[in-house]
C-alpha cells in the first residue's frame, strides 16, 4: 500500500507498538473506566488498518472513518471519566499516537485537484492542532493546574464568549487604529522611498547595507520614545509600527526593483519605453514577489509593535493594555483570550496578504506546481 511505503515501516511499527502498549495498560489498569470501549475500538481499527494494507476503495474509506471515530470517541471519553491514574495517562498516550497516525494518513492521501484538494491539505494541520489543544485541556484538567498559571482551552473559550464587547473595543483600538494605520503609512512610505532610491545607483548601494542593518535592530525599543512624542493614544502606536515596518519593506522593495535582468531591461529600451512605462510593465511586476515578502514580514511586525507600544502608556483600552493589567489581576483566561484574538487577527491578516499574493504573482515558481 502507498501509505506504508511512503511513511517508512519503522515509524508505523513504532507507532503501532506504542499504541498496543498504551492501550494494553489502559485495559489492564482500570477496566471499568469509560475510556475502555473506545480504546478497544481504536486498537481494533489500527490492527485492521495495519494487517490489511491491501484494502482499497470503499472499505478503506470505512476503515478510515472508523479510525477517526475511535480516536475522537476515546478523546471525548477521557475528558469525561476519572482522571490522573497511570492507566489514564496510558490512554492519553494511546489517543495521541492514534491522532498522529491520522495525521500521517492524511498527509499521504492522494490529493484531488482544486478547492477540494486545498481543503484536504488542511486536514493534517487541523488534526495536529486539535490534538495539541486536546492535550492541553487534558493535562490542565488532570494535573489540576491552577487557573492563575495556565487556564484550560475550554475556560479561555468561555471567557471569549462572555467578553466579546471588551475584546472588540481592544481589537479596534490596537489592530484597526494602531497597527493597520501604521502598517499602511509605513508600507506606503517605504514603497515611495524605494522608488526614489531606485533612480540613483549611488543611493541604492549606500542605502541597502544601511537599511539591512537598521532592519536587524531592535526597533521595538523606540516605543518609549514614540509614546513620549506622540502621546498615549493610538498615534504613538502607529508611529512605532511605521518605524518597525519601514526598513524591511524598503530593503525588500529596493531588492525587488533590481530583480530584472539586463536582457529584459534592454527589451524595454528597444521599445523606447519611458522610465514610468518600464516601471509599470516590467519592474514593478517583477518586484512583486519581493514586495509581498516584505508585506508578509511587516504584517506580523505591525501587530507586535502596536501591542508592545501599549506597555509604555496607553488609554484604558487596547490589547497590550488589557494584557498587562489582567496579568496584574491574575485573570489569565482574559489574557489568553486577548492572545487568541491577536493570533487569529494576525493569521487572517497574513492569510489575506498571501491570498492576494497568489493572485498577483501567479507566474512565480513558488506559486506553481502545487
Amino acid at each position: 500500500m502507498m501509505v506504508l511505503r511512503d511513511s517508512g515501516g519503522v515509524q508505523w511499527a513504532g507507532m503501532a507498538l506504542g499504541l498496543l502498549a498504551a492501550a494494553g495498560f489502559g485495559v489492564a489498569g482500570a477496566a471499568g473506566q469509560p475510556g475502555f470501549l473506545p480504546l478497544a475500538a481504536l486498537l481494533g481499527a489500527t490492527l485492521v488498518w495495519l494487517v490489511l494494507p491491501k484494502v482499497e476503495g470503499l472499505a478503506r474509506g470505512a476503515l478510515l472513518a472508523l479510525l477517526i471515530g475511535a480516536v475522537a470517541f476515546a478523546a471525548h471519553g477521557l475528558l469525561r471519566g476519572p482522571m490522573g491514574h497511570a492507566s489514564f495517562w496510558a490512554a492519553v498516550i494511546a489517543v495521541w499516537l492514534g491522532a498522529w497516525m491520522l495525521v500521517a494518513i492524511f498527509a499521504d492521501l492522494p490529493r484531488s485537484a482544486g478547492l477540494l484538494g486545498r481543503l484536504q491539505g488542511l486536514l493534517a494541520p487541523l488534526t495536529f492542532g486539535a490534538t495539541l489543544l486536546w492535550l492541553w485541556e487534558v493535562t490542565v484538567r488532570a494535573l489540576e493546574v491552577p487557573r492563575v498559571i495556565l487556564p484550560a482551552p475550554s475556560a479561555i473559550w468561555d471567557r471569549i464568549l462572555r467578553s466579546t464587547d471588551v475584546l472588540w473595543v481592544d481589537f479596534v483600538q490596537t489592530f484597526v487604529k494602531g497597527a493597520l494605520s501604521g502598517y499602511a503609512i509605513g508600507v506606503g512610505a517605504a514603497l515611495v522611498f524605494a522608488l526614489a532610491v531606485d533612480r540613483s545607483d549611488f543611493l541604492r548601494r549606500g542605502l541597502l547595507p544601511v537599511g539591512n542593518f537598521l532592519a536587524a535592530l531592535p526597533i521595538i525599543g523606540t516605543a518609549p520614545i514614540m509614546v513620549m512624542w506622540f502621546g498615549f493614544d493610538w498615534p504613538s502606536k502607529a508611529a512605532v509600527v511605521v518605524a518597525m515596518v519601514f526598513f524591511p519593506m524598503l530593503v525588500n522593495t529596493v531588492q525587488g526593483l533590481a530583480a530584472t535582468e539586463a536582457m529584459q531591461r534592454d527589451l524595454m529600451r528597444t521599445y523606447s519605453a519611458s522610465w514610468g512605462q518600464a516601471l509599470l510593465k516590467l519592474r514593478l511586476p517583477a518586484a512583486m514577489p519581493f514586495i509581498f515578502n516584505g508585506l508578509k514580514i511587516s504584517s506580523t511586525l505591525a501587530l507586535i509593535g502596536a501591542i508592545v507600544a501599549e506597555f509604555f502608556g496607553s488609554p484604558t483600552r487596547g490589547m497590550g493594555f488589557r494584557i498587562s493589567t489582567e496579568v496584574g489581576r491574575l485573570q489569565l483566561d482574559m489574557v489568553w483570550a486577548e492572545i487568541a484574538v491577536a493570533a487569529l487577527a494576525g493569521s487572517l491578516f497574513y492569510g489575506l496578504i498571501a491570498l492576494v499574493e497568489r493572485g498577483v504573482t501567479f507566474w512565480h515558481p513558488s506559486q506553481r506546481g502545487r
Binding site: A104, F106, L203, V210, A216, P218, G221, M319
Partner: protein, 298 residues
C-alpha cells in the same frame, strides 16, 4: 568595498538629518525657558541650547555618544562602583546591563537554533511532520509572543523560575522560526541529480544526511542564524520590560521612560544596536571561515 563611499554618505546624511531634527524638536522647551527668564534667544543661542538640554525630546547625536562613553568606559574606570574600584561591573554601566541581556540572548539563541535544526531535520525526513508541523510553526509566529512575554515572565516567576531562563525562553521562541524555515529550505537544496548520485553509491539515510544534505544546508543555516540572533536579542530586551526595571538593556529603556531620561533611552537603544550588529558580524565571520574551509566561499 566599492560600497563603502555610498554607505558612508548615507550614514552621514542620516546623522545630518538627525541634527537638523534636533532643533525644531527641542526649540519649544528652550524658548519657554528663555521667556521665563525674560531673555530673548538669538538663533545661534537657540541652536546651541537645543543641542545641550538635560532632558531633550530628541537628544543630539553627540549627547548620545557621550552618554554611551560615560556609562561604559568612564563608569567602569573611574566610577565609585566601577570595575576598577570594586572588581565587579557597576550596576550603572551599560557594560553590566548589556551583559545581562547578552547572556539571556545567547542562551535563548543556542536553544532556539538547536530546536530549529532538529525540527527542520524532522520536517525534511517525515511527511507527516511536514504536513502538520510546518503550518503551525508559521501560525505560531503570528502570535505576538513579544506581547505576551510579560505574562510568561510573571507566570514563570510565580512558579519559582526566575533569572535567565524566562528571558531565554522568549528568545528561543523568536529565534527558532527563522532557523526552521532556513534549514528546511537548505536541507532540501540538493537536487534530484545529487540525491540520485548518493543512491548509486548506495548511501544510507544518515550518510545522505551527513555527506550531502547537511553540507549543502550550511549557507542557509548561517543566513538564518543571523536573523535568529537579532530576533533573540529583541526577545531578551522585551522580556526584561516586565521584571520591574532591575537589570538589562530593556530595564534601562523602561526606567528611562519612567523618569523622562531621554538620553538614557537613546544610549540603551544604541547599545542594543551595537550588540546586535556585532553579533551578526561575528556570525558573518564564522560563516566566511566555515564556507572557505568547505570550499564554498563566495
Amino acid at each position: 568595498m566599492r560600497n563603502i563611499i555610498p554607505v558612508l554618505a548615507v550614514t552621514a546624511a542620516l546623522i545630518a538629518l538627525w541634527y537638523a531634527a534636533v532643533v525644531p524638536m527641542n526649540a519649544q522647551w528652550a524658548q519657554d525657558q528663555a521667556r521665563r527668564a525674560g531673555t530673548d534667544l538669538t538663533l545661534p543661542a537657540l541652536i546651541a541650547d537645543t543641542m545641550s538640554q538635560q532632558r531633550p525630546r530628541l537628544p543630539a547625536p553627540h549627547q548620545v555618544a557621550q552618554e554611551l562613553w560615560n556609562s561604559t568606559v568612564v563608569e567602569e574606570m573611574t566610577g565609585r562602583r566601577g570595575f576598577m574600584n570594586t572588581g565587579s561591573l557597576s550596576n550603572r554601566s551599560l557594560v553590566y546591563h548589556g551583559w545581562v541581556t547578552l547572556s539571556a540572548t545567547l542562551l535563548g539563541f543556542a536553544i532556539g537554533s538547536g530546536l530549529g535544526i532538529a525540527l527542520a531535520v524532522g520536517i525534511v525526513h517525515n511527511r507527516a511532520m511536514d504536513a502538520s508541523v510546518m503550518p503551525w510553526a508559521i501560525a505560531s509566529q503570528t502570535i505576538p509572543i513579544l506581547a505576551i512575554a510579560p505574562m510568561i515572565i510573571v507566570v514563570l516567576n510565580a512558579i519559582g523560575i526566575t533569572g535567565l531562563i524566562p528571558k531565554a525562553i522568549i528568545s528561543t521562541y523568536l529565534s527558532f522560526f527563522p532557523v526552521v524555515v532556513g534549514m528546511v529550505k537548505g536541507l532540501r537544496a540538493p537536487d534530484a541529480m545529487q540525491l540520485d548520485l548518493m543512491k548509486t553509491y548506495s548511501a544510507s539515510g544518515p550518510q545522505v544526511f551527513s555527506k550531502l544534505r547537511w553540507p549543502s544546508a550550511m549557507p542557509y543555516l548561517f543566513a538564518s542564524l543571523k536573523v535568529a540572533i537579532a530576533a533573540a536579542l529583541v526577545g531578551a530586551i522585551v522580556a526584561e520590560l516586565p521584571t520591574g526595571a532591575v537589570a538589562g538593556l530593556g530595564a534601562r529603556l523602561l526606567s528611562g521612560s519612567y523618569y523622562g531620561q531621554t538620553v538614557q533611552i537613546w544610549s540603551a537603544l544604541f547599545a542594543a544596536a551595537i550588540l546586535a550588529a556585532s553579533m551578526v558580524a561575528l556570525i558573518g565571520v564564522i560563516q566566511r571561515a566555515t564556507l572557505r574551509r568547505m570550499g564554498m566561499a563566495a
